[in-house]
C-alpha cells in the first residue's frame, strides 16, 4: 500500500472524513451491528417480561418503550445500515467501478443516519423513549406525553434523509459507473437487487418524510392533522406510513435475496438458474410493493371493495417470490453444494422464508386477516420474513464477504455453532407465536392473564429468544477473535464468480488498478475457467483520480442533530444555530472546489497490473 504514503493521516480524522465507499461500508456495518445488539437486547427484555402470565419485570410503560424501540431500531438502525454497509462495500466492486457516483453524498448519508440513530436513542436518557409503536400511529403518538415521540419523529426524519440520498447515490452509481461490458443483464443479482432497492427508497421514503413531518407539526406547532375534534383524520397517517412501510419491507428483503442468489450459486459451483427470470421477479416485486400497502389496514374500515382489490394485489406478489424460491432450489439441483457457514445461512433461509411467505399469503385474505391482524400471528409472520429473510441474509453475507471487506476469514466452527443455535432459537421463538395469535393474544401487550391457555407457548418463545441471544454472543466472540488473530484470506477464498473476487482482499482504495473488461455474466468465473489469473483490462494503466475527503458531512449532521434536539426542548435560538451550522456546511461544500487528487501509476503495486 505504498500508494500515497506521503499523505500521513490521523486514523480518527481519517474515519471521520473518509469518502471511500469501502470505509463508509465498514462504518455502516459497525454502527448497524451496534444498533443490532441494542435492538436484540430490547427484544430479550420484552421476552423476559412475557415469560410468565402477569409477570412483573419491566412494567407497562417501559415495555411499550422497549417494543417501540425494538421495532424502530431493528428496521431503521440495524437492518437498513447493515444493508447499506454491504451495498457500499460490495456493489462498486461487483460492477468494476473505482468509486461510487457521489462519494461526498455517500459519506453525508452515513453521518446523517448516525446522527438520527443517536438522537432516537437519546430518549432513553432524557425522560423516556418513544412508546407509540414503531408505526407511530396517531393520535396515540400525537398525544403521547413526554418527549419520547419527538425523538422518534426527528431521529427518523434525519436518518431518513441520509437513507434517501444514499439511495440516489446507488441508483446513479449502478447506471453510470459500470465497467465496459458490464451490461445490465450481466450484473450480479446483489447489484440488481441493490439497484431496485435504491429505487424503492427513492419513491417510498418521501411518504414517510411527510408522515413524520405532519406528526412533528401536530406535536410541536399545534397543527390539527390528526385531531378529530378539529376535523383532522388519523387514517391519513396510517396511509402515509404504509405507503412507505410496505415498500420498506422489500427495501430490506430484496438485497438479502440478492445475497442468497450470489451465495447459493457460488457454493453450488453453478451459474444462477434462470438469471433473467430472477431479475424480472425482483423488479416485479419492487413494482408490486407500491400497490399493496392497504393489506396492513384491512381492519381500518376502508370497505370491502378496497380490501378485495388490495387482497388480490397482495396475493400476486407470491408469484414472483415463488419464482425466486424455485430458481434457488434449481440452482443447487445438479450442483456440487458445499456448506460453509455462509451457505448454511443461505440454505437455512429457504424453508424459514417459505413459512413466512405462506403466512403472508394467508394474511392477504381480508376475512382471515380480521382474525390475524394485530395478533401474535402477525408478529410470527413478519419475524419469519424479516429474521428468516433479512437477518439470515445479513449473516450469510457477513460470513461470505468478511474476507473481502477485512482480509480475514471468520472462524468456521464458531460460525456453524452460531448458525445452529440461531436457527433453532429462531424457530422456537417464532413458530409458537402463530398459535398464540390464533388463540387470541393481541400483539404489543405487556402481559397476559393466566388461565387463557397462553402460558406454554409464551414460555417456549422466551426460551427461543435466549437461544438466539446466546447465538449472537458467539457471533460477537467470533468477530472479536477474528479481528485480533484471524486467518488471512486469499483474494478468492470461495472460488467466487463475480468481480469483487478478482482483486486483493481487502480491496485497495482505488479498487481496480485498471478498469476490467467484462465478457459475460459471472465475469470472474468465466476468466478463471478460460485459464486467466486476472481480469482483462479495459484501459491502459494510468494515474488514478481519487475524491477529496471532507469533514463537512460530520458538521452538517451535527448541525441538524443540534437543531432537532434543541427543537424538542423548544430552545429556538440553539435550533437556529444548528440549522445555521448545517447551512454553512452546505455553502462551504458549494463554494470550495473539490478536484480530488491522483495516485500516480508509478506508485501502484506491480501485482494485478497488466503491463502493455
Amino acid at each position: 500500500m505504498s500508494a500515497h504514503a506521503y499523505k500521513k493521516k490521523n486514523p480518527v480524522w481519517d474515519w471521520l472524513t473518509t469518502v471511500d465507499h469501502k470505509k463508509i461500508g465498514i462504518l455502516y456495518l459497525a454502527s448497524g451491528a451496534f444498533f443490532f445488539l441494542i435492538g436484540g437486547l430490547e427484544a430479550i427484555l420484552l421476552r423476559v417480561q412475557l415469560l410468565y402470565p402477569e409477570f412483573d419485570f419491566v412494567g407497562a410503560e417501559t415495555f411499550n418503550q422497549l417494543l417501540t424501540m425494538h421495532g424502530t431500531t431493528m428496521i431503521f438502525l440495524a437492518a437498513m445500515p447493515l444493508i447499506f454497509g454491504f451495498m457500499n462495500a460490495i456493489v462498486p466492486l461487483q460492477i468494476g467501478a473505482r468509486d461510487v457516483a457521489f462519494p461526498f453524498v455517500n459519506s453525508l448519508g452515513f453521518w446523517l443516519f448516525t446522527a438520527g440513530g443517536i438522537l432516537l436513542n437519546l430518549g432513553w436518557f432524557l425522560g423516556g423513549a418513544p412508546d407509540a409503536g414503531w408505526t407511530g400511529y396517531a393520535p396515540l403518538s400525537t398525544t403521547s406525553p413526554g418527549n419520547g415521540v419527538d425523538f422518534y419523529v426527528l431521529g427518523l426524519q434525519i436518518s431518513g434523509i441520509g437513507t434517501l440520498i444514499g439511495g440516489i447515490n446507488f441508483l446513479v452509481t449502478i447506471i453510470n459507473m459500470r465497467a465496459p461490458g458490464m451490461t445490465f443483464m450481466r450484473m450480479p443479482l446483489f447489484t440488481w437487487s441493490s439497484f431496485i432497492t435504491s429505487g424503492l427508497i427513492l419513491f417510498a421514503f418521501p411518504a414517510l418524510t411527510i408522515g413524520l413531518a405532519l406528526l412533528m407539526f401536530d406535536r410541536l406547532f399545534g397543527s390539527q392533522f390528526f385531531a378529530a375534534e378539529a376535523g383532522g383524520n388519523p387514517i391519513i397517517y396510517e396511509h402515509l406510513f404504509w405507503i412507505f412501510g410496505h415498500p420498506e419491507v422489500y427495501i430490506l428483503v430484496l438485497p438479502a435475496f440478492g445475497m442468497f442468489s450470489e451465495i447459493i450459486a457460488t457454493f453450488a459451483r453453478k451459474r444462477l438458474f434462470g438469471y433473467s427470470a430472477m431479475v424480472f421477479a425482483t423488479a416485479l416485486i419492487g413494482f408490486l410493493g407500491f400497490m399493496v400497502w392497504v393489506h396492513h389496514m384491512f381492519t381500518v374500515g376502508l370497505g370491502p371493495i378496497a380490501n378485495s382489490i388490495f387482497a388480490v394485489a397482495t396475493m400476486l406478489i407470491a408469484v414472483p417470490t415463488g419464482v425466486k424460491i424455485f430458481n434457488w432450489l434449481f440452482t443447487m439441483w445438479g450442483g456440487k453444494v458445499s456448506f460453509p457457514t455462509a451457505n448454511l445461512f443461505a440454505v437455512g433461509f429457504i424453508p424459514s422464508f417459505v413459512l413466512g411467505g405462506m403466512t403472508g399469503v394467508m394474511l392477504s385474505v381480508p376475512p382471515a386477516d380480521y382474525q390475524y391482524h394485530d395478533s401474535y400471528f402477525v408478529v410470527a409472520h413478519f419475524h419469519y420474513v424479516i429474521v428468516g429473510g433479512v437477518v439470515f441474509g445479513l449473516f450469510a453475507g457477513m460470513y461470505y464477504w468478511w474476507p473481502k471487506i477485512f482480509g480475514t476469514v471468520l472462524n468456521e466452527f464458531l460460525g456453524k455453532l452460531h448458525f445452529w443455535l440461531f436457527f433453532i432459537g429462531f424457530h422456537l421463538t417464532f413458530f409458537p407465536m402463530h398459535f398464540l395469535g390464533l388463540m387470541g393474544m393481541p400483539r404489543r401487550v405487556y402481559t397476559y392473564l393466566s388461565g387463557q391457555s397462553l402460558d406454554e407457548a409464551n414460555f417456549a418463545a422466551t426460551m427461543g429468544a435466549f437461544l438466539m441471544g446466546l447465538a449472537t454472543i458467539i457471533m460477537v466472540w467470533n468477530i472479536i477473535q477474528t479481528s485480533v488473530k484471524g486467518k488471512k484470506a486469499g483474494n478468492d477464498p470461495w472460488d467466487g464468480r463475480t468481480l469483487e473476487w478478482a482483486i486483493s482482499s481487502p480491496a485497495p482504495e482505488y479498487n481496480f488498478a485498471q478498469t476490467p473488461l467484462v465478457r459475460g455474466l459471472d465475469a470472474w468465473w468465466l476468466e478463471k475457467r478460460a485459464g486467466n489469473t486476472q481480469m482483462v483490462a479495459a484501459e491502459p494503466l494510468d494515474d488514478i483520480h481519487m475524491p477529496d475527503s471532507s469533514i463537512l458531512p460530520v458538521l452538517l449532521s451535527l448541525g441538524l442533530f443540534t437543531a432537532a434536539l434543541s427543537a424538542i426542548y423548544s430552545n429556538w435560538v440553539l435550533a437556529i444555530g444548528g440549522l445555521a451550522l448545517a447551512a454553512l456546511s452546505m455553502i462551504l461544500r458549494s463554494v470550495i472546489d473539490y478536484h480530488g487528487y491522483h495516485i500516480h501509476k508509478e506508485d501502484l503495486p506491480a501485482e494485478g497490473r497488466e503491463d502493455k
Binding site: A101, N176, L214, F225, A230, I236, I243
Partner: protein
C-alpha cells in the same frame, strides 16, 4: 481541469460532458422523482382535509384570485427566463446566462413576497392559522413547503452567481447552473398544481 480560456468552446451539452456532470444530472433528476412523491403526499393530505374547516373560514371565502393570478404569472415568467438562461448556457454565453438567472431570482423573490403578504393577510384578517382547523394545517403545510422550495432556490442561485461570477463557464460550473434550472422548472410544475388544486378548486367549492 484545463484553464478557462482553453474551454471557451464547450461541447453541445456542457452539463453532461464529464462523468461528474452526468452523475449530477441523473442524480438530480432522480431527486426530482422523489420530490414528486413528497409533494403528492402533501396534495393528498390537502385533498383529504380540504373540507375540514372546523366551522371556520372556508376556501371560497378566503382566497382572492387576482393575487394568485399575479403570483402565477411571476412564477411562469421566471420559468421562461430560466429557459433563456439554459439556452445561453448551452451556447456558452456566460454573461447572458447570469443576466437571465438574476431576472429569474428576482421574479422568484417577487413571488415569495406575495406569498408572505398573503399568509400574513389570512392570519391577521381572517384568523386562519395552522392551528385553526385541519384544513388550515394542510393549507399552510402544502403551500408553505412550496414556498420553502422557492426560498431554497433563490438562495441557491444567489450563491451560484456570487461564487462563479469571476470563474466563468466551464465543465465544472455548467452542471451546477443547469441543475438549478431543472429545479426551478420543477417548482413551477408544483405551483401549477397548487394554483389549480388549492386556489381554483377552492373557489369552485
Amino acid at each position: 481541469m484545463k484553464s478557462n480560456e482553453a474551454m471557451t468552446k464547450l461541447p453541445a451539452n456542457p452539463e453532461r460532458a464529464t462523468l461528474e456532470g452526468k452523475n449530477k444530472f441523473l442524480g438530480f433528476w432522480f431527486f426530482l422523482g422523489g420530490e414528486t412523491v413528497l409533494f403528492a403526499s402533501l396534495f393528498g393530505v390537502y385533498l383529504g382535509l380540504r373540507n375540514a374547516t372546523n366551522g371556520g373560514v372556508t376556501a371560497n371565502e378566503l382566497f382572492e384570485l387576482p393575487l394568485v393570478f399575479i403570483a402565477t404569472m411571476l412564477l411562469l415568467t421566471s420559468s421562461l427566463t430560466s429557459v433563456f438562461a439554459t439556452m445561453a448556457l448551452k451556447t456558452n454565453h456566460f454573461k447572458r446566462m447570469i443576466g437571465w438567472f438574476v431576472v429569474t431570482g428576482l421574479l422568484g423573490l417577487g413571488f415569495l413576497g406575495l406569498e408572505i403578504y398573503e399568509f400574513n393577510h389570512y392570519v391577521h384578517e381572517y384568523g386562519h392559522t395552522i392551528k385553526s382547523s385541519a384544513w388550515g394545517s394542510a393549507f399552510y403545510t402544502l403551500v408553505g413547503t412550496h414556498g420553502a422550495h422557492v426560498f431554497m432556490g433563490i438562495s441557491w442561485i444567489t450563491l451560484l452567481i456570487i461564487r462563479n461570477l469571476r470563474r466563468g463557464m466551464d465543465l465544472y460550473t455548467a452542471p451546477k447552473f443547469y441543475l438549478f434550472a431543472l429545479y426551478w422548472h420543477f417548482i413551477d410544475v408544483v405551483w401549477i398544481f397548487i394554483f389549480t388544486v388549492v386556489y381554483l378548486m377552492g373557489k369552485v367549492g
